[in-house]
Symmetry: C2
Subunit: 406 residues, 2 copies
């Protein structure tokens, strides 16, 4: 008898038929001897519909009221899923954020989780029933509804799994696991049985949009094993945990890529203290996320400074940059931009104990005549920015070079 | 400075444009010096949409989960209306049932109101802000969401008005007041400035679907003045209160009618104790509402027994009746049914102090050659059942006879 959390996202609950299928899956999992706490998102499209209603009224809806509005989406899901379970003869009970309670701070629209009370959920489990929890929402000290940020249901699920000390947090989604590369690009990409938290973190923030970074961080911090699997077909999925013996690991676990990027370079900028802050400050203030940042060694007191942003933010970032250079009096500087780039990354905890990984990556790309525009590394990943046209070629050749199909 | 409750129904909130119009109306009412607590329904169509989702899953959704599901409709309304008010520079704050709290018993889908706490609402009013309350929903002792029954937002509004000791409970709807008769039938029907609770109660249960009976009963019991007015145009509407001097009243205040009726008669049924229970018991158990009931004096130990039901329940009621007669061994009895009938009612507290009202009603109908099939009276109303074809003629002639256009 193992206690597990099942998390179902919006796509898995996108219609009555899919909700029924989720109920069937829960029944099957119970018959295998599992005790289950379910965490759900809003039905797909619902959050967008509600957000659109608010934005028809105002560009700046009150965060408190936005949370009241959006939390209604999960409220609908939990009620419908409980009904579907009850129809199958399964005792089930819905839980809103304040009924658990799922305590957060009062930072509406992006509240931080403070404490998840396990007692009420476990009482329901002990009577043989299935608690069905509204993800994404919580309650603050004064009883106001909060939400923990878009896509937060994964994080809710991990927090619940941690609170009730579940053996695993199963994230049901529309893919059947985590692959060594995008199977649409690399035919021989293989599903990984196991990924370590740190690898998953790099992959989550690098285009492998299977799990939300925050959920993986939470799971990593509290050592809650997660499992990514398909809500539409059977299978073991991919287990994400803290791993065991790094020496056994291959050097590289997976190749990821992200197309949705653009690059900005400031040429001949004065190499003085505070320069990065002066350049990037206005961009951060405009809520534009900056990803890679590279600064070259200076020559003659000038340096070149490059960074990448989401492609959708490219024009706005460029405008802000031009204004900031003028305001700071950097009259010698010029800006170069490129919005047809892609980022390709190799990830693997094995890099820690293997030398020569970077060399092999650069050699592989050179053999294919792919020019590297920017490089950024961490302990367990190497990212390169290349011309978007070569992204498939790069991913395929790296997948071959590191023999990821075995 | 007067403290009032504004209640807006689903039609008044049926689109973003209408929500904006409601916000405008609240702003205007505030600028006239009113302190306002707003109670809202779900956007029109929303409750039906959610109910349909549940019924796609199961014919018998759990009442607790049905309440969780349906309460989400009002949750959306309060958030959107607060946003629209804030856009207009009005401080506003939404309230869910458990945030007031609006305490009820645990009778899901038809909970009884136990207590409405005024403090939180009045705190918001005192800081100069507008509380926007989700109607229809409450919370029980264990923190579960309850709903007080369909159309219950009128009742929520009256309960809130009573709790905060508001001067008036303004019910904004799609008509501009209560009329002496349906203006679509009687061209010269006039809007009444004032109706007494008891009259409104008779009218509410008799086809004038402006206010829900339960809301009027609650207002009557606690003496909360209500006002029916249009959310689409300006006007004083109709004040519904306990009235003043009955001697000043006309004999009859209004003529109402209801088409949606059917009649069932059991002929030659044994006139023994318990007969009404035996006949009507199975019908009540099947949740069919019986309206008028008439039993004639018996002849030779047999009597005739007639009652009316909603037309949609006619066939089902007839089947139940046939079965019940067989089971009870009433082999001499036969059933006659008519589903093309209508009920016409004259209402007025003035009837209490005027004789001859009934005579005048019957005389008027006789002059028009309209046959009366059933009669039912109370202290302040007389209802007759007639052939549906004559309903307009009956309403018009009674409106003329009692000079209601003055």
């Amino acid at each position: 008898m193992s206690l597990v959390v099942h998390k179902y996202g919006g796509t898995s609950l996108g219609s009555i038929e899919r909700i029924e299928a989720v109920a069937d899956r829960i029944v099957a999992s119970r018959s295998e001897g599992n005790q289950i706490v379910v965490v759900v998102s809003a039905m797909s499209g619902e959050t967008n519909r509600l957000t659109a209603l608010a934005h028809h009224i105002t560009d700046r809806p009150s965060p408190r009221e936005m949370d009241v509005l959006l939390a209604s989406g999960e409220q609908v899901s939990i009620a419908l899923l409980v009904m579907a379970l009850q129809k199958r003869g399964v005792d089930a009970q819905s839980f809103l954020g304040d009924q658990i309670p799922f305590k957060t701070d009062s930072g509406h629209e992006r509240a931080r989780i403070e404490y998840v009370e396990p007692k009420n959920l476990l009482d329901v489990v002990r009577r043989g029933a299935v608690p069905v929890v509204a993800g994404f929402q919580g309650v603050d000290d004064i009883g106001d509804i909060t939400t923990i940020g878009r896509g937060g249901s994964d994080t809710s699920a991990v927090a619940v799994a941690h609170a009730i000390e579940a053996e695993e947090c199963l994230i049901y989604t529309d893919v059947d696991g985590v692959y060594t590369a995008d199977p649409r690009i690399v035919e021989r990409a293989t599903k990984m049985a196991n990924v370590e938290f740190e690898e998953m973190l790099e992959m989550a923030s690098l285009g492998a949009k299977v799990l939300h970074t925050r959920a993986v961080e939470f799971a990593h911090k509290h050592d809650v094993p997660m499992r990514v699997l398909s809500s539409f077909e059977d299978g073991e999925g991919t287990l994400v945990n803290s791993g065991a013996d790094h020496m056994e690991k291959p050097m590289v676990s997976a190749v990821t890529h992200e197309r949705d990027e653009a690059k900005l370079t400031v040429l001949r900028v004065d190499d003085v203290p505070g320069i990065a802050w002066k350049i990037l400050g206005p961009i951060g203030e405009a809520n534009i996320t900056v990803d890679m940042i590279v600064q070259n060694t200076s020559v003659d007191g000038f340096t070149d400074f490059s960074f990448t942003v989401k492609r959708a933010d490219f024009v706005r970032a460029k405008d802000l940059l031009e204004r900031s250079l003028q305001e700071n009096g950097f009259h010698e500087s010029t800006i170069a931009g490129d919005d047809a780039i892609a980022k390709v990354t190799i990830v693997g905890v094995g890099m820690r104990s293997h030398a020569g990984v970077a060399t092999k990556m650069f050699e592989t790309l050179a053999h294919e005549n792919i020019n590297i525009m920017m490089i950024s590394t961490s302990e367990i990943k190497i990212s390169v920015v290349i011309d978007e046209r070569y992204v498939e070629l790069a991913v395929r050749s790296l997948h071959d070079a590191f023999v990821l199909d075995e």
